[in-house]
Amino acid sequence: MTTTDAAARTRVNGGIRRDVVEARIFGVLRVITIVLLVIFTVFPFLYMIVLSMKDLSALLQAPGDLFAGLGEIGLQAYVEVLTPVSGGGQGFGDFIRNSAIIAIGTVVLTLLIAIPGSYAVSRLNFPGVRSVSALFLAVYLFPATLLAIPLFIFFSRVGLRGEFIGLIIVYVSQTVAVSIYMLRNYFETVPRSLEEAAALDGAGRLRTLWSVNLPLAMPAIVANGLFVFMIAWNEFLFALLFLVDDRSRWTVSLGLSQLAGSIEIPTTVLMAGSVILTVPIVVLFFACERLLTEGLTSGAEKG
């Protein structure tokens, strides 16, 4: 092989020495980068957890000593934040229920709409199939602020502004495009021969979708459902516009943002609220990370 020739050539140029030096410098830089990155990304979350279990006076006296007063109070902040307002707490239990209703409603409705839609886009030839894809791309890029004004007015007028269903409809419209994009990639991997076999056995199109494609695409559907859940659970702007008037209808995000400005509620209690808001998302994410990252970046490999 030419390996020895090339090696000899580079040795003459001093290329090998340069390569060794560079490899060493970048090896060190690489370790430093990784350590700093981990601190940079993870520290705020550690800070959140630590503060949620601290005593407020210990925090104010020694803000630099993260572990002072830890354990003296333990989970007291969680109790206070979850206790209903009538019991002297902050009522996050209700917020969790509201967020869950909205997020689950969004997932169910999005999947009901997106599964047939993605099947159609991936399998069937119909007029305008190209423009459908372009439309979805445009939707994905549109600013929420531009939609906020007309939707605020529209839902005020039809009397749905304070209702969960109004918010759910808005969330579905925001997530359905990306859902179809994620799901169609999986539908395309289902071999056509399976569908043709079902068709020969006399199954209609919906029947084929139901009993052939759906079971095969189930992992993708679950991942997509969790992804939609995360978006709906995290959303802030429309929840603020639609639900802010009535405290009993606040979501966890909205509740935390509204109470964060208050001086009477200790920071530690609100930190417990932040943990409660964040934990479900992190758990869901780790449960289906692989499926999610593959679905999200499936366009990247082709450049």
Binding site: E22, P127, F136, S156, T267, S274
Partner: protein
């Protein structure tokens, strides 16, 4: 992005027509027509909700921006008459509008460059396998998936001048004389090599937050692209004596560039439209008032729907210019 429109389905139903050498027509009663009907039927719910909740509202915003309209007077609006450019005159001459547009530009360009840069650094640093890499990769994604309200609240607390950890460390370790109100101070003099600069403190802080929050997205995309580069290419270059930096410059970078360009434009669009992060961190105070915050203020605090719509439209138009310039640029790159 071509992914989105390629792979046009050629189901068994449409084949007989094609084999005949004719363009597929959606003839009544034919298999192709049946397929077209089924396709349209299945996609119809999606189209309806996207049209009703997104397309129509956007068109409505365009109409609203040409009307003199307050929240209180909504019930009596006549949509057939009284169009004027008053809102745009009001918006362009209002105090702080141009400054706000400038802030938006600085925020979105700064945030995009830093996020993509850090994402690239992270992807390269985590390229070679080692024990625990999987876990670190997952941890890198936390800022991106965490709820924005929780993330901003933690940052606010960390940056708090009284008991935030950053100010404690700044005073103890970096020798800051006084606590710095990183989120509510408009600007501060900084002495570099004997020259004093005024840096916009709060704007700088929200840009750093934006970098923290969205670099994982860039990291994810660049990592996926890196994995798709065939190892043989680099191996060949190494055999030919190319050093690490040379291999990066001549092999990896050219392969990454298209992905990075698409990423940058996506991030720019999203950062440009961003409302949540700045609203929650500073409320738009201390020199961080971006246009999307002004839209919200006009809508809720003033109830001036017309002016709010006009500003949202200006935002969308500026964005459209960005995208158009980018597309031209991208095309030139391709053909060159």
């Amino acid at each position: 992005m071509t992914q989105l429109v390629k792979n046009l389905p050629t189901g068994p139903g449409s084949d007989p027509v094609r084999r005949g050498g004719r363009r597929p027509k959606y003839r009544r009663g034919g298999l192709a027509a049946a397929e077209a009907r089924a396709g349209l039927g299945l996609i119809a719910p999606t189209l309806v909700i996207v049209l009703v909740v997104i397309v129509v509202p956007i068109l409505w915003t365009v109409l609203l921006s040409f009307k003199e309209l307050r929240l209180i007077g909504l019930g009596t609006v006549n949509f057939f008459t009284d169009y004027s450019l008053d809102n745009f005159v009001e918006v362009f001459t209002a105090r702080g509008f141009w400054e706000s547009l400038g802030t938006t530009l600085v925020y979105s360009i700064g945030g995009t460059v830093l996020a993509v840069g850090l994402g690239l650094a992270a992807a390269l640093a985590l390229r070679k396998a080692f024990r625990g890499r999987g876990l670190i990769r997952s941890l890198m994604l936390l800022p991106y998936i965490a709820p924005v309200v929780a993330a901003t609240f933690v940052w606010e607390t960390m940056l708090n001048p009284q008991f935030g950890i950053i100010n404690v460390w700044g005073q103890d370790l970096l020798g800051w004389a006084d606590p710095v109100a990183l989120l509510s101070q408009r600007s501060a003099p900084v002495n570099i090599l004997g020259l004093t600069f005024e840096i916009p403190v709060a704007l700088f802080t929200v840009i750093v937050f934006e970098m923290w929050r969205s670099f994982p997205f860039a990291f994810l995309f660049i990592t996926a692209r890196l994995q798709a580069i065939p190892g043989s290419l680099e191996e060949a270059a190494r055999v030919d004596g190319a050093t690490l930096t040379q291999r990066f410059r001549h092999i990896i970078w050219p392969q990454l560039l298209p992905t990075i360009m698409v990423l940058a434009i996506l991030r720019l669009i999203w950062t440009f439209n961003n409302f949540d992060d700045i609203y929650l961190l500073t409320g738009g105070g201390a020199g961080t008032e971006v246009v999307s915050i002004r839209v919200f203020e006009y809508l809720t605090a003033r109830g001036d729907v017309g002016a709010a719509a006009a500003q949202a439209l200006v935002l969308a138009v500026v964005l459209g210019v960005f995208v158009a310039v980018y597309l031209r640029f991208a095309k030139k790159e391709e053909s060159a």
